[in-house]
Structure formats: structure tokens, C-alpha cells
């Protein structure tokens, strides 16, 4: 299953929820803001959001800025 994460293709073999994906790949899950296909998915809903072929994920966080 191909998933585009922050503009880069990723191959995911098993069925996986957004929550599982983030916890597996992000060093600080508690900082992450997630969009799937340009819609924000609230943290409370990460668990039941299953990733699908060609989903476009944006994983975003706060950084220093002016």
C-alpha cells in the first residue's frame, strides 16, 4: 500500500491506523498535527482512521518562526 507522507511515497505493508503510523514514525507523537487528504484529523480520531492506498498524509508540528 502506497502512502504519500509529507510529499514522499512510503510503502506500508500491513493495515495500519493513523495513530499507529504516527507512533511508529514520529519521534514526538504528542507534537504532531495530522492531515489526511487535506482534512485535519483530530487527535481523538487518529485511532479509528485507517490508512488507505494513495492517502496523502501531512504530519505537521510547531517550530520557531518570526
Amino acid at each position: 500500500m502506497n502512502i504519500v507522507v509529507n510529499g514522499t511515497s512510503n510503502i506500508v505493508n500491513e493495515e495500519i491506523s493513523l495513530k499507529q503510523f504516527i507512533e511508529k514514525h514520529c519521534p514526538n507523537p504528542e507534537r504532531v498535527i495530522a492531515e489526511v487528504n487535506e482534512h485535519i484529523v483530530k487527535r481523538a480520531d487518529w485511532d479509528r482512521q485507517l490508512l488507505k492506498e494513495n492517502d496523502k498524509l501531512e504530519l505537521i508540528t510547531f517550530v520557531g518562526g518570526g
Partner: protein, 262 residues
């Protein structure tokens, strides 16, 4: 305008006793950021959003910002109104408030704000309940339109972002101060406390600084220096500065005649 002389900076009904806003980019050491906020008593600080780097552990910028500080989320990275709106919504969804610095830039060399797209974004975001502080090139007509669509403040640039050149737009920011009823916050390009004082002396309501603090040899002391200069400039504005004398002739401050002379 009378509210130009109010004790506090008031934006969207919220009172701030500090008129110094701090940006959080470019700090080499995040502890310096925390200390700089404290040293300057900044009550509003900007942050930005960015894609996570999956390969690298990054520090959480928010941990270094005290909880009583108002977060102002910068839409930097937006090239048009649509993208700015999208970033603002993400920030709100993430639980970080509704205060947005609307920054729309479609020029990668000079990083000039696109006033027209900024107006569009402010219009949409205001309707959605955001408090928007638009970062603009100081144009009287653009500022009027921003106020008309609900901006509770405008943030004109002093000079190009990151150049430290000071108040190159002075003549035009002065027009905004005289003509626009919402607070005018000078943003970008202020490279020294004297620049911040100069902006405040002519009646700017506040200033925002990032590069000059974050890249100083001692960012914490520099943050304090800027905050002091902002107070100095504010007090000078309230005191009514004497005018510059245009003649080339000097005017004595000491009595020069009547002593030792015939």
C-alpha cells in the same frame, strides 16, 4: 486618535502591558528563547508550522514558551490566501488558538508580503473567528482594506526580513500611524534597539523582532535591550519629543552671554 496613548496595547479586546513582541525563529539554543521571553517580558510570541522531519528528533518549541504568553501562529510558507487560511485552520485544530500572523509571500528573493492576498486571507479568517494580525508592506489603501475586513491590527515591515536595516519605510509607516485606527506593529528588519525606539517614538503601538535578537551574541540580553528601547520610545512618544531644528544654526542650552563679557 486617543487610543494611541492608552497605557496598554489592546488588540481584539485583549490587554497587553508589553509592547514588545518576540519571534522564535533562528534561536541556536532553545533555552535562550525561554530566557529571552522572560528577560523581555514579551506577552506575544510568534511560532510557525512545518512538516515533521521523520528522521530527526526535534525539540518542541512550545515547551520553551510560558503558558501565559499569547501564541501568534505565523502562516509563513503560504504563497496565497488559500494556503494561509489552510495553515490557520491547522493551527486552530491543533488547539493553538486563534491568533494568526497572516503572512503571505510569493517572492522567494525579497520575501515581500503580498498585500492583496493577505487582505483576502484576513477577510476569510475573520469570518471564521480568527484574530488576524496581517504582516504587510506599508500601503495606506491596503491597511484601510484590512481594517475594513476586520483586522484588529496591522504589522507593516520596517525593512526586508532579516536585513537588520531598520526603518526604511518610515515615511509610510508614519502615514499608517496617523490614518489607521487599529494598532500599528512594526515588524521585520529592525536590527537594533535604536530602530525599535525610533518606531515607538513616532507613535507605533508595538514592534516585533526576531532575527536581531536570535542571532545576537547574547540573545537574552539583546531581548532585554529591545524591550527597554521599546519602553524608552513609548515614553518619548508620550512625552512629546521636541522637533529637530532645520536651520544649521545651533541653540545654546547653557547661558552664553552676560558672563565674562563686556
Amino acid at each position: 486618535m486617543d487610543n494611541k496613548k492608552s497605557e496598554n496595547l489592546i488588540i481584539a479586546g485583549k490587554n497587553f502591558s508589553s509592547r514588545f513582541l518576540l519571534g522564535t525563529g533562528k534561536f541556536g539554543n532553545k533555552n535562550d528563547l525561554a530566557l529571552a521571553i522572560k528577560a523581555s517580558n514579551a506577552e506575544i510570541v510568534t511560532v510557525a508550522l512545518r512538516r515533521i522531519d521523520l528522521q530527526r528528533h526535534e525539540e518542541n518549541i512550545l515547551e520553551y514558551i510560558p503558558p501565559d504568553v499569547t501564541l501568534l501562529v505565523n502562516t509563513s510558507g503560504a504563497r496565497n490566501a488559500t494556503e494561509a487560511v489552510r495553515i490557520a485552520r491547522i493551527a486552530r485544530e491543533a488547539g493553538y488558538g486563534t491568533w494568526i500572523k497572516v503572512e503571505v509571500i510569493n517572492d522567494s528573493k525579497y520575501l515581500m508580503p503580498d498585500n492583496e492576498e493577505t487582505i483576502k486571507a484576513v477577510d476569510i479568517l475573520t469570518r471564521e473567528g480568527f484574530v488576524t494580525l496581517p504582516y504587510i508592506y506599508p500601503d495606506l489603501y491596503a491597511a484601510r482594506k484590512l481594517v475594513a475586513v476586520g483586522a484588529p491590527s496591522v504589522m507593516p515591515l520596517g525593512s526586508l526580513i532579516g536585513t537588520n536595516k531598520g526603518l526604511k519605510t518610515k515615511e509610510f509607516i508614519r502615514i499608517l500611524i496617523e490614518e489607521i485606527e487599529v494598532p500599528v506593529i512594526v515588524d521585520a528588519g529592525l536590527g537594533a534597539p535604536s530602530h525599535a525606539a525610533e518606531a515607538m517614538e513616532m507613535g507605533a503601538d508595538a514592534v516585533l523582532v526576531n532575527t536581531a535578537v536570535a542571532t545576537a551574541g547574547n540573545p537574552v540580553l539583546m531581548a532585554k535591550a529591545f524591550a527597554q528601547a521599546v519602553e524608552a520610545g513609548r515614553n518619548a512618544f508620550l512625552s512629546a519629543l521636541p522637533v529637530q531644528q532645520d536651520s544649521t544654526q545651533a541653540r545654546a542650552s547653557s547661558p552664553l552671554t552676560g558672563f565674562l563679557y563686556q
